[in-house]
């Protein structure tokens, strides 16, 4: 077991692609860290550099306090689980799991004992004599995990280990991975492009974009206090709503009405180079049917009227999609997010508003409804830099903060 430290680690490929840029990251001993970001943002490259499968172009990588930049993978004592599982097709499950131990030149009895134990933990015992070709996807995945845990390495690296499984199995395996990691207490770096996986699995999440780290923190912190537009849009499902907001005499003019501003944000906007247009971000759960809001709460927000397009009743609450008029929010980050999610998933920047209302709301499709939203939960972003202007010392404070 060991901690892993990335100190200004960069990677540029011979063809000039800079895949990873100055990544600083300290992973504590026993921590479960998730690298997440859209496809092509450099997650795998980062993981492969930690593994030793890719050379580090610049910067330093330390495992257990020791510089390992120039060490071969075999000398780093790290196990890896691949997206393709990479099981040896010519070996049985037992031989696959025993392979790292045989290379470590352990004696036969110890090897058998360790393999049997790992097989028991992962419920692979009846499959030990099968070849990988005769296993289901979930079973293969478990064998790959088994091969990683048998030799009790300093750390686990996993590159999208669940992305080849169907949705149901993925959820199931998620808990298996989580439990296994807690049980073993081994430092783990886990790569995924699925923000749900990132939110549910890790102690800390690292969000990457274009080779650079955007924000590092516990899932809830990233969700509540996104440092920039990209993080705000990437984390959360359904994603945050983004609206165009024009700065006008100390307030904001938006499609949801005129939003008053507190002193702090106003001061920021008084600077000479301050943006005249902002992007307003608000999560679906910060809306409520205006009928159901008590007076005390009402004061902290604003109300608007809009036609409800679609009502999806989830039982515990209702997802209601409204159409709002007005200019669309536009920023490079939003386009990127929409492209990554395949547009369907990312309604965020369109003329559509996704809201989560209480199940008691009598709203029906086609009806024009009065909706309240919480001004304290609003985020304001600078469209050119993506910076979250409502963030104060790392905390989001809403539009009204003084």
């Amino acid at each position: 077991m060991a901690d892993i430290v990335l100190d200004k680690v960069s990677k540029s490929f011979p063809d000039g692609t800079v895949a990873v840029q100055d990544v600083d990251l300290e992973i504590a001993d026993g921590e479960f860290v998730i690298l997440v970001g859209p496809s092509g943002c450099g997650k795998s490259t980062t993981l492969n550099m930690i593994a030793g499968l890719e050379d580090i172009s610049s910067g330093e990588l330390r495992i257990g306090g020791q510089r390992v930049n120039d060490k071969a993978p075999r000398d780093r004592d790290i196990a890896m689980v691949f997206q393709s599982y990479a099981l040896y097709p010519n070996m049985t499950v037992r031989e696959n799991m025993a392979f790292p131990l045989r290379l470590a030149k352990l004696d036969k009895e110890t090897i058998n004992a360790k393999v049997d134990e790992a097989a028991k933990v992962l419920e692979l015992t009846p499959l030990l004599d099968r070849k990988p070709a005769n296993l289901s996807g979930g079973q293969r995945q478990r064998v790959a995990m088994g091969r990683a845990i048998v030799r009790q390495p300093k750390a686990f690296l996993m590159d999208e280990p669940l992305s080849n499984l169907d949705a149901k199995l993925r959820v199931q395996m998620r808990t298996v991975v989580s439990r296994l990691q807690k049980q073993l207490g081994t430092t783990t770096v886990y790569v995924t492009h699925d923000q749900t996986e990132a939110m549910t699995l890790g102690d800390r999440v690292v969000i990457m974009r274009g080779g650079a780290v955007q924000q590092v923190g516990p899932p809830q912190e990233l969700y509540d206090h996104p440092r920039n537009l990209f993080v705000a849009g990437f984390i959360g499902s359904p994603s945050m709503n983004f609206l165009h907001a024009a700065v006008q005499d100390g307030g904001l003019h938006t499609a949801l009405g005129d939003v008053p501003l507190g002193d702090r944000v106003r001061r920021e906007l008084e600077a000479a180079d301050a943006p005249r247009e902002l992007i307003l971000g608000i999560r679906p759960e910060h809306f409520e049917d205006a009928e159901l809001v008590d007076d005390d709460t009402r004061r902290r927000g604003l109300e608007f009227e809009a036609p409800a397009d679609i009502v999806e009743s989830m039982g515990s609450d209702k997802y209601v999609y409204f159409t709002v008029e007005g200019e669309k929010a536009s920023a490079a980050e939003l386009e990127e997010l929409a492209a990554d999610a395949g547009a369907a998933d990312f309604a965020g920047a369109g003329g559509n508003l996704v809201t989560r209302l209480s199940a008691e709301s009598p709203v029906t499709e086609g009806q024009t409804r009065r909706v309240w939203f919480n001004l304290e939960k609003i985020h304001l972003f600078d469209p050119s830099t993506g910076r979250n202007l409502t963030l104060h010392e790392g905390r989001a404070a809403g539009a009204l903060a003084d």
Partner: protein, 278 residues
């Protein structure tokens, strides 16, 4: 998609198949039959020999001429195969795994070589080999064989190599293997069938060659069986050598037939690999 196969359709196809097989096999069987006939009955036109004899086989194995040619054939084909497969494996590895400048050119040139009419090279090769003093030697045949077998080897091998999941090599390294161990214990066992199939194809190519064998040799020193056949005289000069020639033809055909029968699946997969994803 369900294909309707009525009995009549089956019958028709069956007949057609038989026809094709007969058409292909009759000449081979005819030669086999001739090889078992005595000189007296050689020209009687009967398909089944009236008097069976192994004299022809005895004759060819008694004459130095044939035994020597057989040794040449085996030696030359084996050496050429070995070198072509080793070189081909290296080239195919590079083509399937690495991106390097001139990769397309290499593939294009090797395709060009495979298409080149061999007969147009015979005279220049003859002159070159005489100058280099390798005319009528083993290397004199091995070299052109390698040249023409390499494209075949590169093509089949790179098709095989492309099917090997290279994540396995990374996985082996992560599991604590050195580069050499990763190759020997994980990649080699997966590459072996491809190497083997390619070796068979290349060997058959070298074994069957007549053009180079006849034009680049002049004595028994390096003449291979296909070329030697045309110089056969029989036991004595006055005997008709047809029976012996047929026996020799059977002797060099049988190993190929056995090869193909045993490794049929492998060879077919070698020839079609890459065409469809297995």
């Amino acid at each position: 998609m369900a294909v309707e196969t009525t009995t009549r359709a089956k019958l028709r196809w069956g007949l057609l198949d038989v026809l094709v097989v007969v058409f292909a096999l009759v000449p081979v069987l005819w030669i086999a039959s001739l090889s078992f006939k005595t000189p007296a009955t050689l020209t009687d036109g009967k398909f089944i020999p009236r008097e069976w004899t192994l004299d022809n086989y005895k004759t060819i194995f008694d004459t130095d001429q044939f035994v020597r040619a057989l040794i040449n054939s085996i030696g030359i084909a084996l050496i050429a195969t070995l070198i072509a497969v080793v070189l081909g494996a290296m080239a195919a590895y590079a083509i399937s795994r690495l991106d390097f400048p001139g990769k397309r050119l290499l593939v294009g040139v090797s395709l060009l070589i495979a298409m080149f009419p061999q007969v147009s090279l015979v005279s220049p090769l003859f002159e070159i080999e005489r100058q280099l003093k390798i005319f009528d030697t083993w290397p004199g045949l091995i070299l052109p064989y390698i040249t023409f077998a390499l494209p075949l080897a590169i093509y089949t091998l790179s098709a095989f190599f492309k099917q090997i999941p290279w994540d396995l090599e990374k996985a082996a390294k992560m599991d604590g293997a050195t580069q050499a161990q990763a190759f020997r214990r994980v990649i080699a066992p997966l590459a072996a069938p491809g190497l083997f199939t390619t070796a068979i194809l290349v060997f058959i190519f070298c074994w069957n060659d007549f053009l180079f064998a006849i034009s680049l040799t002049s004595t028994e020193r390096s003449r291979t069986v296909p070329a030697a056949l045309s110089f056969f005289t029989g036991a004595s000069q006055f005997e008709d050598p047809a029976g012996a020639i047929c026996a020799a033809a059977v002797v060099i055909t049988v190993p190929i037939i056995l090869f193909v029968l045993f490794f049929q699946r492998r060879i077919v997969s070698g020839l079609t690999s890459g065409a469809v994803k297995g």
